[in-house]
Amino acid sequence: MNNKIENTLFQCRAINKEFGNVRANNDISINVRSSQIHALLGENGAGKSTLVKIIYGLLQPDSGSMTFLNEEYSPKSPKDARALGVGMVFQHFSLFEPLTAFENILVGLDKELGEKELHASVIMLSESYGLEVNLSSFIGDLSAGERQRVEIIRALIQKPKLLIMDEPTSVLTPFECESLFKTLKKLASEGTSILYISHKLKEIADLCDTASVLRKGAIVGEYDPKKMTPRELGEIMVGQSLFEPKRPVAANKSNKVLSVKINEVKPDTQFGVTLKNIDLAVYQSEILGIGGVAGNGQEELMQVLTGEKKDRNVSIKYMDNDIEMLNPRERREIGLAFAPEERLGHAAVGNLNLLENSLITDPKKRFQMKMGFIDFSELNEYTNEIIEKFNVKTTGVSALASSLSGGNLQKFVVGREIGQKPSLFIVNQPTWGVDALSAANIRQAIVDIANTGAAIILISQDLDEILEISNKVAFLTNGNLSIPTNTMDIKTDEIGAIMGGISD
């Protein structure tokens, strides 16, 4: 190798991988140096995940070669990769929910370790890297941040020299992100290289030493994120200029659309959050942003708002009608629309195709003809419109919802709900796992319907998103909602105090 660079830990050259007619990876070459945090930046479907799966041995490349520690590297399975010193933390956690944290760590190890020995090394790791986790709790009961810590511990316990992190912050709160970054920086300073996959530009600028940008399966180039603005980097990533949605113009204060008063709502499970002292109102053409760290009552509030959970002690007034005892379908019929956080299995049915998924939330029966027949031409048109407008990457309207990537399904779900032209749209985490350009599109679409008179409740853990498009913001902590304030009047340090104040 004539152009061998000093300190190269991992190198791949001319990697190609095709799925059917799609070229997921096209002649990809990257070079990861030791002790570096190397970003792999790209939109959904740019080929990042394919590339790291090849590196981790989950996929075999069609052609191309890799070297690791100056030796030929071609893992046939993740076991090979781990044995050679490559670890990976998945985007959709590869944890078993019914098993405990400890069992999950155990099952990810390739050799049998004594329980005591393992306990000791886990505790040592968690102390030195700030990865706190209760080993005996079941994964199903842990927050996203805690789950990720379990995954990281599981990867670190095998002492990898290269750690692959696939979109690690997509499920984390700002606070959790910060502690993750500390951990990663410490790891890098101690000699572990990190291949960091993300499409969040700010964090790449904060964290990474180098950034390889991927677009449509090919490398665009290698950049120094410290020397560029996130915007410049973003434009390279999407290959066109980015826009920032503007929040809706001043709300029409006279037309209250929804008011909610909750004294107390107990959760259904012991792990749920009790909602307390919630008093909110949202007006026409107004976006009310509800922020807060995950697990502080977002899910529970959403259930009360959608009618999945009905409670007599709650007062919900929609345009002067009491609707607290209506079920979700009845609420949809009078002009509400919802997009819950969990897109597969909650917002969409995985085993139904996109047409059918459009049909299942059709409160105004616009796809229904006489005698209950389905109006397929109308349905087709509607679904195609969503796909086109929201740039949903799919093989067509007859693709199963489960065949779409998370971000694409999210775009579809938001599009489907917005297409109902609701007077009140309640959405939880609308851009979770969605790439930059599509996220901007989704936000713009939300702003657009607000501008035409809809009221919006936007629940999101992405603080930037809330501050960007909301007229008013409130924060959930431990089931309590702070008093909504105008976004313009709020200061960033106040937010930290509100969010961190009550919750631990």
Partner: protein
């Protein structure tokens, strides 16, 4: 009618014998389901085990050799199922039902010349000292080898699932095969092994039925035992010890009602024959209703085909 005619110690001893086929078959199915596969062919594998065990037992004159042949026959039939659902990725429910129907049919064909023949004896092993304890000795310590083995299997399987790494891997494959695959575990291989084990256990259960419990070959002699075994697995919440309790309740009431019939209790025979099924379902529903800590229910991927994502 005289209830004192019923000897309690003998009753318990015979309930254990009556329950053993169920314990064996259900334990096998427990392992299969823990790996994420639903094999509804238990009944079919049991009856194949019963007929093969009986034929080989009669021909060789050894019940033990018969029992081994039963295990092999059950395993062989389950391999067919494994091939259909793991390699061809057919629907598990339909394939399992087909397996039962196939098993019942082929067993009837094979067993026809052997109807009405007596099977070779299996000797009981009295455990020294323990078997001499009054009452308890008769109940628990004067049984044949298979009974002891079935009880040991409960322990071993509990230990395997909860204390061993291999058991953890098996459970993780059953909970989420995609994750297990992404960690580098061979989902299909592990399920193959689990299914084969389940088949062998069901086979032994069937063999015990025809060689010890009855002991005779009659067509359709499993009489729904495979289905009861399947129900036991579900109602036990996929736990070996509760499964044992469930099986013994079923066996116990079966024996009790037979005794009651024998001494001429004035209850309709149809109701008495129904009793074990009803009581087992009731007892297990009650057990599974109470919320024990860590009761996590069915394996996450139970019944789902594993399609490797490339």
């Amino acid at each position: 009618m005289d209830l004192s005619e019923i000897n309690f110690a003998v009753l318990v001893a015979s309930l254990i014998v009556a329950s053993t086929p169920l314990v064996l078959a259900a334990l096998g199915e427990l392992i299969v389901e823990k790996s994420g596969v639903l094999n509804l062919g238990v009944e079919g594998m049991m009856i194949i085990g019963a007929v093969t065990g009986f034929i080989v037992g009669v021909e060789t004159g050894s019940a033990y050799i018969g029992m081994m042949a039963a295990a092999m026959a059950g395993a062989l039939l389950s391999l067919l199922f494994a091939f259909i659902i793991l390699i061809m990725q057919a629907n598990q429910v339909a394939s399992g039902l087909a397996l039962t129907i196939f098993g019942l049919g082929i067993a009837a064909l094979m067993g026809h010349p052997y109807t009405g023949i007596k099977s070779p004896q299996i000797s009981t092993i009295s455990i020294p000292i323990l078997s001499e304890i009054p009452v308890l000795g008769t109940m628990f310590f004067q049984h044949d080898l298979i009974v002891y083995l079935s009880l040991i299997s409960v322990l071993v399987i509990w230990y395997f699932l909860n204390r061993m790494r291999a058991g953890l891997i098996l459970r993780s494959v059953g909970e989420d095969h995609d994750v297990a695959h992404s960690l580098g575990y061979r989902v299909v291989t592990i399920r193959f092994l689990a299914i084969t084990f389940g088949g062998a256990m069901a086979g032994v259960g069937g063999g015990y039925l025809s060689l010890v419990r009855v002991p005779q070959w009659t067509e359709g002699m499993t009489a729904g035992a495979g289905w009861i075994a399947l129900a036991l697995v579900v109602f036990s919440g996929w736990r070996p010890f509760r499964l044992l309790i469930g099986a013994y309740i079923f066996g116990g009431i079966t024996i009790l009602q037979l005794n009651l019939q024998a001494i001429g209790v004035n209850i309709n025979i149809a109701l008495l024959s129904m009793a074990p099924y009803l009581a087992t379902i009731l007892a297990l529903v009650v057990i599974s209703m109470s919320r024990f800590r860590g009761n996590r229910g069915a394996p996450g991927c139970l019944g789902r085909s594993f399609v490797k994502i490339t």
